[in-house]
Symmetry: C2
Subunit: 505 residues, 2 copies
């Protein structure tokens, strides 16, 4: 996320009461002695949803440590200090001894080169048990007293403008997903199509109203087919929104600083769901083939969505911004001349006569890693950022950010996976300097050096990927073997073997 | 387009002063004796553009015939009568004798089986010369006195709720494109990157202001790279909008009835631009391989755009519609129960408690060919429809429709094309009953039966495609060889050989 939140970052970090950034200052005794993150606060059950009227907001009391790393790293105070050392940038992985991550997942991370106080990436890897609510479908009790469901969960959270949002999301997002799935436990285990409508009172089916089994109404020729899969997708989507709403509630006490991208994987009933909101990335490498499992959401990829919103709700632009895009800043002396522009409906460019309004700053500007919304933020989806304002202004940026992920589904049962088939998740620190093909080549190189049944091979692969993106320190910064600059950003990588859920310990 | 505009069609047709539909009535003496379409009205130069202040609206006086077919069909009065015969459904193509279409393009069409008065598809195929405006870049006169540009143009227009919009678009859209390109003639022929900013007065470059050559400003690290290709894309996009605005102006005199999908191909300087707004489709069949060159815009494919607009501008929904989607109509007795729904940010489904507002009709409902916006229209992009209202209501539907095409670009110079490589354009009458693979198989079958240098092979192919979608009359309607129903819709097909521009006559 480094470089993707401009001056607003410094503004927010310095105004948030946190100590100012201390680039390249390796000794952080306070951080080292800090306790690990407080026990996760579960959202109340179920989380508040506009219009659902079924819950009160979870008012988790935030008593966060100033700095934490994923608990599965099992860091000692000394280890935590090394993990926080911008000079050494030691790669961190779970210890060889002790409990392995589910599915023998590999993980590695490294802190940035000094641009932010701590590593603002966070990660989570959990097996989550979902207990069903009492017969939501109104089925007879004996049928509804079934088993609960387990899902496997991996999450990468790339924070910006402070570590609070990423830390909170890493503790709580999977619990929001669990809450959303509670109503679906029975339905997902029933091979028949999901009921379109559920009776009012759980356990007391309204036998006089079989409407959820009704055929088409007059205005539809048929009712829409809704799959089990799409219910899980909907559950994940709403969990992201509820997580974001919880951050909004709690930031009123100024407790949640910054925002974060979120890349989440859920394995449930044979399918892998990859949900991405931000600029992290997931790819599957299967038999050497690359299968993209996410796309990035940035001012460039979401330009038209952002411009449309600015066009429909000009009040969100204040008097400072224009929803039109120009290829460079328009100068006052160019008034009346004609300049290239793009409107929200255009993918091409055309000339327009420059008017006074065009002298405003464009809502979207810049290219690549330097693209920005409102000259401030370089990602357009994620959690948090409720406090984010345009630099030297009171204009909020949050209305342009979406907390909704794009969810892609991969059916694990449709293909016989071998131990070298993996799902790789990485924050942008990895992908800024590594192509999908380079990752696939590293997968091949590293895994072939280990026995297929050696569980440490996936951690070794994650470490190799992080090292390959970080590079080694030389006279002018961290350099890759080709002498290009390595990533100075936080880098975090999960390597999830697809050989099958049976491979977890 | 048949079946895609529900009762609103009948409403509009009958209220537009046109005679009521006469299904399966083959003799249309009035239509047969009608003169061909009036000479095209060119848009004034340049067309009005919000903010450009450089033009007055083109007030074309519409004196359209009640029925016309593309002039390149060169239909005699008797031929026009046969083309308008719902019972015989004779396939129409340009005559063997006479001038061939550019590039030896093949074309065939057939009228619907009786659902609308006339064939509401229209087509256009032209070579258009673009004369440049006087030195828009401010270059010295001797440099700017260059050649104009030619582009090749093919358009299919699938009308609904009346034939006026399709007929008007077929006469004028390429002229709007020409107007948009006039400013670009010089720029497109100059290999250097397009200037970002043009001086105020043509021919008098402001030598004291070289700002269009300036490097990055402080807020951009570099100016955006704008390609020649993206200027052509922008020109086509804006031409669609200006065409739509012209229809809006002229319908005030109640002259432009209905709306139309538009699928347009422009060949310019080595590249093929395929612009699609609606549910027609273009594919390239190259060496047997299928390359999609468009996608369809329907209530299903554009659900989230429509819902977002309804969410941001609830006044557009009146008190009649909800922006939420439900898998079937919600019944009043289900108030308080929980039903599956999708909001604008969701691709999955979730349950929500039904409230009073949810009893409104959903903005988007139905599936496949039966999907509708506001229970009325089955396509979400196109030209016209400025009068279209929700059935039995004054609520306008136009705000939800987009006139902007998606433009895809295919570089003809990147591949050595053989005479069997073709670009196939078809209205939905073709694609409703024909897969891309079936089209590719027909391409192979028909073209292999003709010599490569036989110019009639592309017309034979277009005819085979139309016949294959229409079927033959049997006891219960038009049937395909597999006994499935053929398309009862208007069907129109262009087959454009990609063997090279040199192949045109």
């Amino acid at each position: 996320m480094l470089n993707r939140v401009r001056s607003a970052v410094a503004h927010l970090v310095s105004s948030g009461g946190a100590p100012p950034p201390r680039p390249k200052s390796p000794d952080l005794p306070n951080a080292a002695s800090a306790p690990p993150a407080a026990a996760p606060e579960a959202p109340r059950s179920p989380p508040a949803k506009a219009g659902s009227g079924s819950a009160t907001p979870a008012k988790a009391v935030e008593t966060r440590a100033s700095f934490s790393r994923p608990t599965f790293l099992q860091l000692s105070p000394g280890g935590l200090r090394r993990a926080d050392d911008h000079a050494g940038r030691a790669v961190q992985s779970p210890p060889d001894t002790g409990r392995r991550l589910p599915w023998s997942t590999g993980y590695a991370e490294v802190i940035n080169a000094g641009k932010s106080r701590h590593n603002e990436d966070q990660a989570c890897c959990e097996v989550v048990y979902v207990e069903g609510r009492r017969s939501v479908t109104g089925a007879p009790r004996e049928l509804s007293r079934g088993q609960g469901l387990c899902f496997y969960y991996w999450g990468l959270f790339d924070g910006h403008a402070g570590g609070g949002a990423a830390e909170m999301a890493s503790r709580l997002l999977h619990r929001h997903i669990r809450e959303q799935l509670k109503d679906l436990v029975e339905i997902l285990q029933d091979p028949s199509p999901p009921p379109l409508c559920l009776p009012t009172t759980p356990g007391t089916p309204d036998s006089s109203d079989p409407s959820h089994l009704l055929g088409p109404q007059s205005c539809w020729s048929s009712q829409k087919e809704v799959t089990h899969e799409s219910l899980v997708v909907g559950a994940i989507e709403n969990a992201f929104q509820l997580m974001d709403e919880q951050m909004a509630r709690e930031r009123r006490g100024h407790q949640v600083e910054g925002g974060c991208c979120a890349l989440v994987v859920v394995y449930l009933l044979g399918k892998v769901y990859v949900a991405n909101a931000g600029d992290s990335r997931a790819i599957i490498v299967r038999n050497g083939e690359i299968i993209p499992m996410s796309r990035e959401f940035t001012p460039e990829t979401e330009r038209q969505r952002l411009q449309l919103l600015g066009f429909l709700k000009p009040e969100l632009l204040g008097s400072e911004f224009t929803h039109l895009e120009f290829p460079r800043r328009v100068l006052p002396k160019e008034l009346g001349q004609r300049m290239l522009y793009r409107d929200q409906n255009m993918t091409g460019w055309a000339y327009k006569k420059i008017e006074l309004e065009d002298l405003r700053f464009p809502l979207v500007c810049g290219e690549g890693k330097k693209a920005r919304v409102m000259a401030t933020i370089g990602v357009t989806r994620g959690l948090g950022d409720h406090n984010l304002k345009v630099c030297s202004s009171t204009l909020p940026i949050k209305p342009f950010l979406s907390c909704f992920p794009e969810v892609r589904v991969y059916d694990l049962t449709q293909y016989e996976h071998c131990p070298d088939d993996v799902l790789v998740l990485g924050t942008d620190g990895l992908w800024d300097v590594t192509t999908d093909y380079e990752v696939a080549a590293t997968v091949d190189r590293v895994l072939s050096a280990y026995e297929p049944n050696d569980h440490s091979r996936y951690t070794a692969l994650a470490q190799a990927l992080v090292l390959g993106a970080r590079g080694t320190p030389r006279d002018r910064g961290w350099r890759l073997p080709n002498n290009k600059l390595g990533s100075g950003d936080d880098i975090s990588v999960f390597v999830i073997p697809l050989g099958g859920p049976g491979s977890y310990s």
